[in-house]
Symmetry: C2
Subunit: 368 residues, 2 copies
């Protein structure tokens, strides 16, 4: 390019810029496409789970900033206006316009709800997002959620979680027999096949039950969240990985009538605000977990991988559980078929560049 | 909550909704915060690299949709108005308002530019994003880019790439000696310590050079991109991992004067649009690479990990290279210190939940 052309281009850009700034704007179009709007968001979690709850607040902040404050979303913690486990229902029935939740909390209605969150022994966090947005994951989900008057967008991931806190070390699959463990959802159903007695307890009840010994084990989240509940003081064995929370997705769930009424601009803003939260939440867990894990080890946590026979028997039990559900639930089967095909492909590729690089770097970690 | 309260709340929400839709809008405020604006974006890559080039187009589409078309960005492929390698310079000197590029292309100016893209044997893709947005990565980068009149936002990642195509299998580090390999940047500098003669060739020149044998090897990208250039027909050995492209970040780079002039709403929109592209690009590579790799194997690719001694000698050469650069370049040293500390922490944590889960799933892949 000649210097003359470059200079002409710059002059042109400058003129154009001034022209544009002084232009008159089509006001009625703006007003229609970006009306002032106030929504309420109910989160599935309490404020103490700062990264999960913070995802909803960040989403609201993103939306406000991208719309100059015209679209405002007020956030409520789980329990403030709706109990955390009922966030999806509150969206579905129109009590609130939207929620930030794990759709798997609605597993009691239909096990298919887990596909909006995570399938035990499923896709890892990055693969989960790929299935949702590039595979047919989110399309299948929204076909399904439509029956429940809701529309979902991925908006957060925790990464692979830990396996939780155990009063006694798990050395073989037989050690699971009769174990009273706080573990909700499909993970609990699968572990029940190995003799675990799954318990449903709210966060605040877990610590005293572990301390008294009425509970033998409890899974919660990853180091930064687990640390807050102080489990290390009453159950030292910290097993991993949390194969039932291996890529746990959080969703922005919007009441479908409210979604349909939304101008196209706001739909786009919600999608992009959620995508930002998705990366932000994962990166926050990634950034904060290393130091939290170190602190937990200093506090006495005994870091232990689940033995191989435990992992393999649980994997087998998971496959059986899915086959049983799919046999009587065609929606679950439809999800499972899509998800399983994607999963087969993903690990075949993951083992090549990603995994071999991680392997080498982990081997070098004392030289880093 | 009583049913009465719920009903009152719903009635209230409905009334509020109608009221808001009928409200009058502060037009001048909207016009000021969201003026009509037309920018040009120059991409570092040709349209044939559909996922990389597509990232820029998706960014522009995101911005247009989130602003109701008031902020328009027109995309140009590398070479259309500015050569691909000069995208950053064109932004810096104001030829265009913004670019979508690998800042490492400016390594000739200062090796510190690599930290905006990837450091060989560095953070993996997810860790890279965590360093950029939760660590001090992007803050350090923008302090640095300020000197070059630019502002950067992460906007895409390729995942860990492949090691490239070799006419002869690399069985030990000695096989690298005298090897003429197309590999730009720091990766080439590091390999030169093992005797590789790095070549800088544009994409279109690589295939004929490999075919004639004037080139022994070439690194490019990951399966979906590599497939398009047909390397498998002239160099069968497909080594991995591409340790020099282990979490390659693409950036939206904005001319700093233009950035500063931008209303706050548009700054927020650019940040969120870029974050969406970041996840989208990674997920697109994740979704498309498995089938591309399968097709390459059918076409005759011999998939080979780099031998351990090659990896270890390259790792050692990388550490030496960084120490040499840091000794005379305080900016590079500042980046390296932040990056290295973050990397140490990341792999210490990564080996626990993430890596142990991936390991188990890869072992089960014939049962998936």
């Amino acid at each position: 390019m000649s210097k003359d052309t470059t200079m002409r281009r710059r002059a042109l850009l400058k003129t154009a810029g001034v022209g544009l700034l002084a232009a008159t704007f089509p006001m009625p179009a703006i007003a229609q496409s970006m009306p002032e709007l106030k929504w309420r968001l109910t989160s599935a979690v309490p404020k103490s789970l700062a990264t999960l709850y913070g995802g909803g607040e960040r989403l609201a902040k993103n939306v406000a900033e991208a719309t100059g404050g015209r679209f405002q979303i007020q956030c409520f913690a789980g329990g403030e206006i709706v109990p955390g486990l009922q966030a999806f229902d509150a969206v579905s029935n129109g009590t609130v316009e939207c929620g930030h939740t794990f759709t798997s909390y609605s597993i009691g209605r239909d096990p298919s709800f887990v596909f909006g969150t995570v399938l035990p022994f499923g896709l890892n966090p990055r693969q989960t997002y790929a299935w949702l947005v590039q595979g047919d994951g989110n399309t299948l989900l929204n076909d399904f959620f439509q029956r429940h008057n809701a529309y979902a967008i991925p908006a957060g991931n925790t990464g692979v979680q830990m396996g939780g806190w155990f009063r006694k070390e798990i050395k073989e699959a037989a050690d699971l027999s009769g174990l009273k463990m706080r573990i909700p959802g499909l993970g609990g159903q699968i572990l029940a096949k190995l003799g675990v007695v799954p318990q449903q307890l709210a966060g605040g009840d877990v610590y005293p039950s572990l301390e008294r010994g009425t509970l033998d084990a409890a899974e919660w989240s990853s180091p930064i969240d687990d640390e807050k509940l102080g489990f290390v003081r009453v159950a030292k064995f910290y097993h991993f990985p949390g194969w039932w929370d291996c890529g746990t997705n959080m969703s922005l769930v919007v009441n479908l009538d409210k979604w349909r009424e939304l101008p196209a601009v706001y739909k786009a803003v919600l999608h992009q605000a959620s995508a930002e939260v998705n990366s932000w939440m994962q990166s926050k867990y990634d950034a904060e977990n290393p130091a939290a894990l170190r602190r937990l080890i200093v506090a006495g946590a005994m870091l232990k991988p689940f033995p191989k026979d435990v992992m393999e028997k649980c994997f087998q039990a998971a496959q059986e559980t899915y086959a049983e559900i799919a046999a009587t639930n065609p929606t679950f089967k439809k999800f499972l078929d899509s998800y399983s095909a994607f999963r087969r492909d993903q690990y075949a590729w993951w083992q090549v560049a990603e995994y071999s690089f991680d392997t080498f770097m982990i081997q070098q970690r004392n030289r880093l």
